[in-house]
Symmetry: C2
C-alpha cells in the first residue's frame, strides 16, 4: 500500500456500508474499512459474515441499497426450497448471495483466514480498497433477553430485535488478535471515522478486539464519528433501545459521549434535526460538531455526506 | 412397514431414477429403492449425493426428467455467482437443488446418518416408499485415466467421461456397513430389480457394500435386471466404454453375463433392438429374457416398462 494517506472507517452493516460506499467513491484505495464480525454466525452450515458482505456489496455496487443487505435483484429460490424441506428459513440469503457464503465457508474450512477470504472476494468483486474483518477469530454474540438467551441473528432477524435485552455477551477466543492490517491501518491513518453503526452491537466489538482500542487511542489520527441516532431514534435496528437499556442517553449526544470517553473523540457529525445538541456536545464533551443532513437514502447522498465528513475531519487536524 | 410384499430396486442415477418413478407409480410403499452413493463427493463444501437426489426428485415428481438431474425449472444464480467469484463452477447445482444439499450437509455435520437424512428429505418431498443410500459411510471413487487420477465428478461431469479409463478405485471405510434396512429389504423382497444403471460405476458399488452381494445371492427373491446398454451403446454416460475397458462385452448380453456370474440372474430385460441377443442370453447364461421397448423418454413409458418388468419378474417365481 506504500505510504499513501489512509482513512480508516470502523463499520457495521447498513449505515456503515453506505458511508463506506460514499468514502470509497472519493478516496479509492486510500480507504480502509474495518468491519465488525460479532454478528457472524453459522447458518444452514454456512459461515455468514453479514456486515462484511454488506460492505463488500455496497462498495462493489451490487448491493441492495434500500434493503441494506444482500445483492440487488437477487432471488430466494434456495431459501424457499429450504422452507419446503421443513428447515426453519427465517434467515434469508439470496441465491447469488449464497455463492459468497458458500465460497467463504469452503475457504475457511480449507484453513484460509477470514481476512484473506474477504480480500479474495473483494478483489473478485472489483473493489480496490481494503476491507478487513476486525479479527480472524470466531466471535460469538449472545443476546440475553426477557425471553431467554438467543444468538445475535435470532434476536436481530428472527425476533426483529423486539425482545427486551437484559445483557449481551461477546465470546471471544483467548488467543484472538486483530486481523492483519487492522492495527497498522489505525496507527497510520490521518483520520479514523466511526460509521453511523450501532455503537453497542457493531462498533464496540471492533473496539474490544485486542489492540484496537489502544491503537485508536494512541493514533495521531483525527477521530470523527457519525451519529446513527437521529432525533433520538436509530435509523435502523435497535441502537436507541439498546443504548437506553445500557444506561446511555439514546441521542447523538449519548453516542458522542460514549466514544469520547472510550478513545477521545475529536469531531461528531449529527443530523440537522439534532442541531440543538451541538452546543451541549461541544461544551460538555469538548468535541467539535458538524451539523448536516446525515440520511444516506441513495448513493449520491452518501457521497455528499462522505465528502462533508472528510472535509470536517481534515479541518480538525 | 409390516409384512407387505416388497420389491427392491438397485439404482444409480438417471436410468435408475426413471425406472424407480415407474415402479413407484405401480407399487407405492411396496417399493424400496437402494441407491448408489459411490459418486457422492464434497463440492463447494457441500455433501452431494447425485444418485440419491436424482431418485428423490424423480419419485416426488419435481425432477427434470429429460436432463436426468436436478429440479425441473430450477435456476442457477448461485452457480453463476460462484463463477463470478472465480470459483470453478463446472459442477452445476440449481438454486432449489442447493437447498437439498445444504440441508443434507448441515444434518450430516450435526451427526445424523445419510440414511436418516435421506428419509427425512424423502418424507418432506411427499415420497411414501423407502429410498435408502447403500451405506452411511463415505465412499470415494477415484478414476485413474490416461490424463491422471480424478474424482468421479471430475471425470464424469468436468471431463464428460472422455478420458480413457485405466482403472477405478472405490475407497471404503473398513467399518462400513450397509445402511439400515438394506439387507432386510433384499432378504424380504419378492423381487430384486437391477435398474438400467451403469453396471461398473453404479451397480457394482452397491453390490460391493458389505453384506449386500451375499444378501442378494441368498435372497429368495426373483432377480431381474434391465439393460442400460441398447444396441451396444449406453443410453447415457460411459457404461459401454467402461465395460469394454474392463474386458466385458458392451452389450445387453455382457450385462446379463456380469450379473449372472455375480449373483445368479433369473431374468434380463433387453430392448427390441437387441432382440437377436435373447437366444444367446437364454441358452448360454440360462437367464430368461423379456424383449420390450426399454426407452423411458417420459413418465408414461417408464410406468409401462415398470409394469412389464414386474409382470416378467412375477412370471419367473
Amino acid at each position: 500500500m506504500g505510504e499513501a494517506a489512509l482513512i480508516a472507517l470502523l463499520s457495521g452493516g447498513v449505515g456503515g456500508s453506505r458511508l463506506a460506499a460514499g468514502l470509497y467513491e472519493l478516496l479509492g484505495e486510500e480507504l480502509v474499512v474495518i468491519v465488525n464480525t460479532a454478528d457472524d454466525e453459522v447458518v444452514y452450515g454456512l459461515h455468514i459474515s453479514p456486515d462484511v458482505d454488506t460492505v463488500l456489496y455496497a462498495l462493489s455496487g451490487i448491493g441492495d441499497w434500500e434493503r441494506g443487505w444482500g445483492i440487488a435483484g437477487d432471488t430466494f429460490r434456495c431459501n424457499e426450497a429450504l422452507g419446503r424441506l421443513g428447515r426453519e428459513n427465517w434467515f434469508r440469503i439470496g441465491d447469488a448471495d449464497l455463492a459468497t457464503n458458500l465460497l467463504r465457508t469452503e475457504l475457511l474450512s480449507s484453513g484460509m483466514r477470514l481476512s484473506d477470504v474477504t480480500e479474495l472476494i473483494a478483489r473478485k468483486l472489483g473493489i480496490r480498497c481494503r476491507v478487513i474483518p476486525m479479527t480472524d477469530s470466531r466471535v460469538k454474540t449472545t443476546v440475553f433477553t426477557s425471553e431467554g438467551p438467543m444468538s445475535f441473528q435470532e434476536y436481530f432477524v428472527k425476533r426483529r430485535a423486539e425482545p427486551e435485552v437484559l445483557r449481551i455477551t461477546v465470546e471471544r477466543s483467548p488467543d484472538e488478535e486483530a486481523a492483519p492490517g487492522v492495527i497498522e491501518a489505525l496507527s497510520r491513518s490521518e483520520a479514523v471515522i466511526v460509521a453511523p453503526s450501532n455503537p453497542i452491537l457493531s462498533v464496540r466489538p471492533i473496539l474490544e478486539t485486542r489492540g484496537v482500542l489502544d491503537a485508536v487511542r494512541s493514533s495521531g489520527a483525527v477521530k470523527v464519528a457519525v451519529s446513527p441516532i437521529v432525533g433520538g431514534r436509530a435509523l435502523r435496528g435497535p441502537a436507541d433501545k439498546l443504548m437506553k437499556a445500557f444506561g446511555m442517553e439514546p441521542s447523538a449526544y449519548g453516542v458522542a459521549k460514549y466514544y469520547s470517553e472510550l478513545f477521545g473523540l475529536d469531531g461528531m457529525v449529527i443530523d440537522r434535526v439534532d442541531a440543538d445538541l451541538a452546543r451541549r456536545i461541544e461544551s460538555e464533551l469538548d468535541v467539535k460538531v458538524l451539523v448536516t443532513d446525515t440520511l444516506m437514502t441513495d448513493r449520491t447522498r452518501a457521497v455528499r455526506l462522505a465528502s462533508e465528513v472528510l472535509r470536517f475531519a481534515r479541518s480538525l487536524r
